[in-house]
Symmetry: C2
Subunit: 345 residues, 2 copies
């Protein structure tokens, strides 16, 4: 199944203008890299696909530096050690790594984290127990700070971040209202225990949201932007908190939307309702909160209060299409590409 002499990788071939297309990527095969002292050669098992990658395709700096043209697309991975030149790891070990969109790669052993397949499925290291789960945890608890009895609304609620936000809100005693696209996702949110789940594609979405939050909204966890944010804004309570984690509805926009200019109305709502709007990226909270997150999340998964769902696509060559689908909300749960076989399953 895996060619052991060649590394297959997906490069950024050109920068998208608006929606990315296959033409922005190039797949190539190169000789297998060799690890130096202190390094390991890894075989990718799972590649995590995440919305932030769209920002990395642009020339302009977003949270972080862009991917260079001709470079491997960046991304978190779960991989198997196939050759080790470091005493801390041996062949067969499973590690959390950052190989990007490729079948193999070399990393310094100290830059990867060894996973215990007996503790949790290895794929969760890039999902509910990894970056998306931590994003939900840190953004909700450190910026959103939901109090017992308050109302938390989250968009893209069937995604890996949103589903964790809603469930953690409930664990903390808040009401959770999830917004997603389509009946199937809505049904899953109800199954997860969201107090209300709404379909933002419904023609009555605005009224549905109003009815779902009779006491207004205290925390809105923003993943989306667009018409969902437009519907949420007038429902925010005084002292509401809005952690801004993503704006996927706008990532492919090349020009500002048509007028009128709603920015003054937004600032005016912030002023008159003493609202906090706070952008963040999870890095900021790693030192202070990651350890506690790992402990809390593991416990919540064990007791069944934090559940997750994966959407697995097979084959690295299918990563671009899966990525395009994610940007338009087609994935259902944490989107993973199974690049090579998972020896733990």
């Amino acid at each position: 199944m895996t060619d052991t002499t060649q590394n297959t990788r997906v490069l950024l071939a050109s920068r998208p203008h608006g929606e990315p297309t296959s033409a922005n990527f190039r797949i190539e095969s190169v000789p297998m890299p060799e690890p130096a002292d202190g390094e390991v050669l890894l075989r990718t098992v799972y590649l995590s696909l995440d919305p932030y990658m769209r920002g990395r395709m642009n020339e302009a700096k977003s949270y972080a530096a862009p991917v260079e043209l001709g470079a491997v697309m960046e991304g978190g991975t779960v991989a198997e050690v196939i050759q080790s030149r470091d005493p801390s790891l041996k062949p067969g070990d499973m590690v959390l790594s950052h190989l990007g969109w490729q079948s193999h790669g070399v990393q310094q052993a100290r830059h990867v984290r060894k996973l215990d397949p007996a503790r949790a499925p290895i794929s969760t290291a890039v999902g509910v127990l990894g970056m998306p789960g931590f994003t939900a945890y840190a953004g909700l608890l450190e910026i959103g700070r939901p109090q017992s009895g308050e109302t938390v609304v989250v968009a893209a609620a069937a995604g890996p971040v949103g589903s964790a936000v809603g469930q953690i809100a409930r664990i903390k005693g808040a009401r959770a209202v999830g917004i997603a696209g389509g009946a199937e996702k809505v049904a899953w949110l109800e199954e997860l225990g969201f107090d209300v789940a709404l379909d933002h594609r419904s023609p009555t979405f605005r009224d549905d949201l109003k009815a779902a939050v009779p006491d207004g909204i205290d925390v809105y966890f923003e993943n989306v932007g667009g018409h969902v944010w437009e519907a949420v804004l007038p429902r925010l309570n005084t002292y509401a908190r809005v952690p801004v984690c993503g704006l996927v509805a706008h990532y492919n926009e090349t020009e500002p939307r048509e007028g009128p200019d709603r920015s003054a109305r937004l600032m005016s709502a912030i002023l008159t309702k003493s609202i906090t709007v706070r952008g963040f990226i999870q890095h900021e909270f790693v030192k202070s909160h990651y350890k506690q997150f790992q402990a809390d999340a593991a416990e919540w998964i064990r007791d069944g209060s934090l559940r997750h769902r994966e959407d697995v696509v097979d084959g690295l060559e299918n990563a671009p299409d899966a990525f395009f689908g994610m940007l338009s909300g087609k994935n259902f749960g944490k989107l993973l590409v199974r690049v090579g076989e998972d020896p733990t399953r």
Copy 2:
């Protein structure tokens, strides 16, 4: 000078659509009110005019309930006790009160605060030592949280809030950049010790601002909105804090401005730079910070590090015109109406 049998007052006659005009006010004379037990009859010396009053003229709830049609326009006042039915106050005492736009009024003694004219000029109780000074103090220190060496930018910097923001920023070791309208105000900001003072009416304002903040902006204290905010946004640093105190450029707008819609660009900047935008009104901080403010401000005034300027208009009948001027930036310093003679000067 003062008719001791009549109370002159300015009522809200109609709600403005856009810019307020004289037609929105009505001046009337009514018999002097009588204090009951526990109350005092007061004679207004200074009426404070503040931008928030524009919001109170609208039907919609802003921070607080609107002024009712036919009711006295609301406002903070410094007044002299002329009759007391409470043991805590006697005729001749000067008090901070909330009589609104009228020459006399009755208040419960426990709702006013006795002033000590020997400690500070009584007018400062509605200025640098009162609500505007406290707004600057709480918004800057609790939301802006400037660190030594950071850059603080403030708009409407020659106003009572803005001038205090810049000076307190400097007291805390930050660089202060003030933005105001016109050469005279800019010169005064330089005299106050602002590191840079800029005229937002200059055709080169955007470039001037860029040059004034070579290390970007860490705190932007928002009083204004409009083109000043547009120029500030791209200069904000990662983790910048934006206390939103006022948006005077938009208060008279009846419709959103023409497109394109800049709200997504604003949210996107908040996201990618992990910016905090936080609306506030000083009430929120009174319990926790007012006492410390009084102590700090008194010390800073004594040592000369916190200076202020007053713009005094004589006669209650001139309050509407003075108010209109303030909304378009014509006042220079804290705008006060001297409603009756100041016996302490």
